[in-house]
Each structure stands twice: as structure tokens, then as C-alpha cells.
């Protein structure tokens, strides 16, 4: 099972306003996009497990023309509240790189 860092050429995380974090998965190429964009392993559970996100509050927008998918979740606490370790959420991507991803079982939405 390949890792996220192997199927993506770039992964980035960034705050999107004070209440959301957005994760951009840029797949290696069109082939990787089609194989993995719909994978269950990129589903809400991943964001609950890695970031403590509410799996009911996930937005997912695939952009085929750029071979990428943008997945956003609600921060468990708003930006800058005490306990904050990463205002811009810019380092959160690192914990995703080693996660293994299985191929999609369904056609990409």
C-alpha cells in the first residue's frame, strides 16, 4: 500500500479562515489522481484520527484539471485559542505523509 508522500507530488495544509483547515493533495499525475482520489483512506476518518476533526463536518472538492483534491475540516478549537500550536496550520501536512492509501473502490465523484 503506497504512502501519501508516494502518490502525491505535494501535500499542503493551511488555515482557511479562523474555523477551518484545508488540506490540498496534489497527486503525482492523472493516473494517481484517478486511482486514489476516491479512496476510503482519504475519507472523514483520516481527518478525525489525525486532527481530531468532526467527521460530519468535512468538505471535499476534487479538481480533476489540477489532479488534486481539496479536503477541509473544522478545527477542534478556533485559531489562536489557548493550546494553539500552529496558527496557520502550515505544519499539519507532515503527519499525513507516511499514511498508507489503498486504491479507490468506486469511480471518483
Amino acid at each position: 500500500m503506497p504512502k501519501i508522500k508516494e502518490i502525491c507530488r505535494h501535500v499542503r495544509t493551511k488555515n482557511a479562515g479562523p474555523f477551518w483547515v484545508t488540506v490540498d493533495f496534489f497527486f503525482r499525475d492523472a493516473d494517481a489522481y484517478h486511482k486514489y482520489v476516491g479512496s476510503e483512506d482519504l475519507g472523514p476518518d483520516l481527518f478525525a484520527r489525525m486532527f481530531g476533526a468532526d467527521p460530519e463536518k468535512i468538505k471535499r472538492i476534487p479538481v480533476e484539471s489540477l489532479n488534486m483534491v481539496k479536503i477541509s475540516y473544522v478545527r477542534p478549537k478556533p485559531q489562536a485559542w489557548f493550546g494553539e500550536r500552529d496558527m496557520h496550520s502550515g505544519q499539519l501536512f507532515a503527519r499525513l505523509l507516511e499514511v498508507g492509501i489503498r486504491e479507490s473502490t468506486a469511480e471518483p465523484a
Binding site: 474555523f19 490540498d24 468538505k59 479538481v63 485559531q79 485559542w81 500550536r85 503527519r95
Partner: protein, 470 residues
Amino acid sequence: MKDYTPLDKEVIVIVPTGMLGAGIQREHIKNGIAAGAVAIAVDSGSTDSGPYYLARGVSKMNREAIKHDLLVLVSEAYSAGIPILVGTCATSGTDQGVDWARDIAIEVARELGIQPKIACLYSEQNAATLKQKNSDGKILPLAPMGDLSDEVIDSCDHIVALMGPEPYIKAVEAGADIVLGGRTSDAAVLSAIAIMHGAGAGQAWHAAKIAECGGQCTEYMRRGGVLMRVGREAFDIDPLDPENVASPESVSAHMLYETTDPIRLIEPGGILDAFESRYTQITDRITRVTGSKWEPQPYTMKLEGARGGPFQSIMVIGIEDPDVLANLDHFHDQMYSVLTDRISRLFAEETTDFDVSLRIYGWNGTSGRPVPKDTPPPLDVGVMLVITAPTQDLANRMAKSVNPIFFHMPLRPQMELPSYAFPFTPAEVPRGQVFEFVLNHAVQTTDGLELVRTEWTDMKTSDTRETTHA
């Protein structure tokens, strides 16, 4: 190299940088004016750096940096006879932030020996107005928020509403040389002049969205901003630096930045729909975008509010002791428990409301997540202790109370007392207050002007300390 054929009836606007105060090269502005720009538009704010700036109404950028950039822009624009639009003055766009920027602009004008007409646009909202709007059912929550209560409105230190392009257009039509806006949608301040001159609304908004971070939509992001060349059916992104390139990749990728939906963007008065947008390289340096659409909607302005919370005091140590470094998780847990117990016991009668956060940088301080087994020990770590309490005085006293533990806790009880490396004395640093964004709502208005106030400073005719109300 392909020759460049400009768009029919294009409106050219200079976007010199993504953030006023980040640094502007005069040569870039001259290039833009020579290309036929009819305005300079720039953003000066963001919520990105956190709620402190809105809660306190102060700028993240220092005054000297803002003045430097304004001096370049005002001198070039004034001699070319084109207006300058600045959105979200002083980071958060409060009324006092607009006044701060106006005072800098007046100082700049005096130094240049010119008499511009300055329009200030204010969009800070008072609690009474918003409570009325709320009871009229005109305030709508945006995900993940629920309905707004009067208590939350009252708890905010400042509340601002994001302006659309309308107040900017009105000010420029009334003869403003410099427009200084309160909180504004980044794209609105950049799109205003193109919309005013009859460019396509979808094109103007989309171009503005692309250009909102200046050179970030180009291949060499730190080489200055861009020209927006906005036509009726298409727009071009043309970098201000002749060596820089706007490619379909760099331009389209910018739509993904800092947003949860890169296809449909909700703005004041409508939705930008980029679903059918196509990005084409038309010269070595310029990318053209077609197919963008604007769907007018009943007018709404997004609200942002911030308030103060508890206070923090921090302490920092460095550790190179190999014995500690080989047992960092144990060290962390033991330290955390001893610190927390001591504060709990010592302050029991005063408060139980405090938080201790212990972060080992160089191990897992950034994430706070468990480190995989068999991870080799680091050579050096920094340990930051953050104590959060209801007042600064309490946070400071709590920090002092654990000073001997934090600096001298042995890994094992029978060991000689260690001293970890602490870099400051006094050791505890009063860090100040924690602030919080509390609103994520939109207010319905009759149009883009209802909740906006405009004030004029005409340096030709008036003493600059006086302003007239429009």
C-alpha cells in the same frame, strides 16, 4: 515569443503586492503605469495572523513599512493622476485602523508636497445595529457556527463587516485620489475599478481573486505583484516584473489557496463561479482566463468579531543531557504531572481555572502527538511551558511557583539536582492575553453601502485635522 494582443476595452489595475508594507519596488509601479494602468489597488489586511489584531484594532505591519510602501504608491499614482485603493487598513480594518492609515497617508502627502483628496470607508459595526439586524432575522450563521446571540455580540471588542466594491467605486467617482478602506473582501478592493469601468463582473472578481496575494499567482512569487488586465469576456494576469511569469499552473493553483471551495466563492453581493474557467498561456509571461461567471445574489456582508480571553505566561529551557534526551516522553509526563499538582495545590483557594501546556520542541512540540517507538533521541531540545490563567498576574505567579521544578527537576529521584539551560532572567515571560474569533456570520443589507460610512479629508481645501461627513 508570441506577441501580446490586449483584450478589447481592457481595464488595467496595478496590484503591487499581496500585503501593503511587504515592500514595493518603484520600478514595478512605473512599469504598470506605462502599460496604461488606471488605478493601483492593494490589500492591507487578513484574519490570518489571528484575532489579536481585530480585538485590539492594531496593525500587524509596522508603521514604517506601511509608510514606505504608501510613499512609493502615492508619489507615482499622484503624478500619473490615477487613484489608489487600500482595503482592510491596519490588518483587521477597524475604524481606528483606518484612522491610523489615514494619518500615515497625510504624513506621506505632506512630505511629497501634494494635496490629495482622501476618502476613508468605515465598516466597523456597533452592537446596537447588529442586535437590531439579528432580531430582524438578517444575520445568518456560516458553517460551522450556529445562530448568533446578543451576548456574543456584546462580548466582542470589535466587529467589522466585509465591504464589497460599491463604496470604493462611489469614492473614486466622487474624486478620491486615495481610498482607505476598513474591512473589505480582498477581491472587492481589487475588482472595484474594473467593475466601475464596465469590465465583466465575473472577469473582474476572478482576476481580483487571483491577484489578491500579489505575486503569489506567478512563478517567482517574490518578484513583485501583477497587472490585472480585465476585459468583458476574459482577463489577463501580467506580472509587473519583466522577468516574471504568470503561467496557467501558477494562476489556477492560486485559486486553491486558503479557501475551502476553489470553484464557487461567496463574495459581497454575489458568487464567483470559476467552474468553467479556462487558463491559457498567451505569451511567455501572460496567462489569459476565460469562462468566469458572476451570479448576483441578495446583498450580504460577512461579519468578523473578536474578544479577549485568558492570559498566559511562558518559560523556556534547553536540554542537552543525553539521559533526559533518551527518556523524553517519561520526562514530559513526569514534569507535567509535578507542575500541575503544585499549581493545583498552591492556588486551590484562588482558582482551579488554569491550563498547563508543556511542549518539547525537537521531539514532538509542534504536533503534540506521540512519537513512534524506536525514534532515536535528538541532540538538543527546547522545552516551552505555557501557563494559561484568568489574569496575567495569576499566570505570572503560577509560573514563578513552578520555576524550581521546571529548571531543576531530575529525571530520577535519587539523582543530583540538574540545572537545565534557561536563557532569560527573570525566567517567566508575561505573554499577554489570548484572543478569540467568535463570529462567522453574514448580515443581509439593502446594498453595499447601507452599513458603510465615508469620510473625506481634502488636503487642498481643509485643515487636515478636520473631516467632512458624506
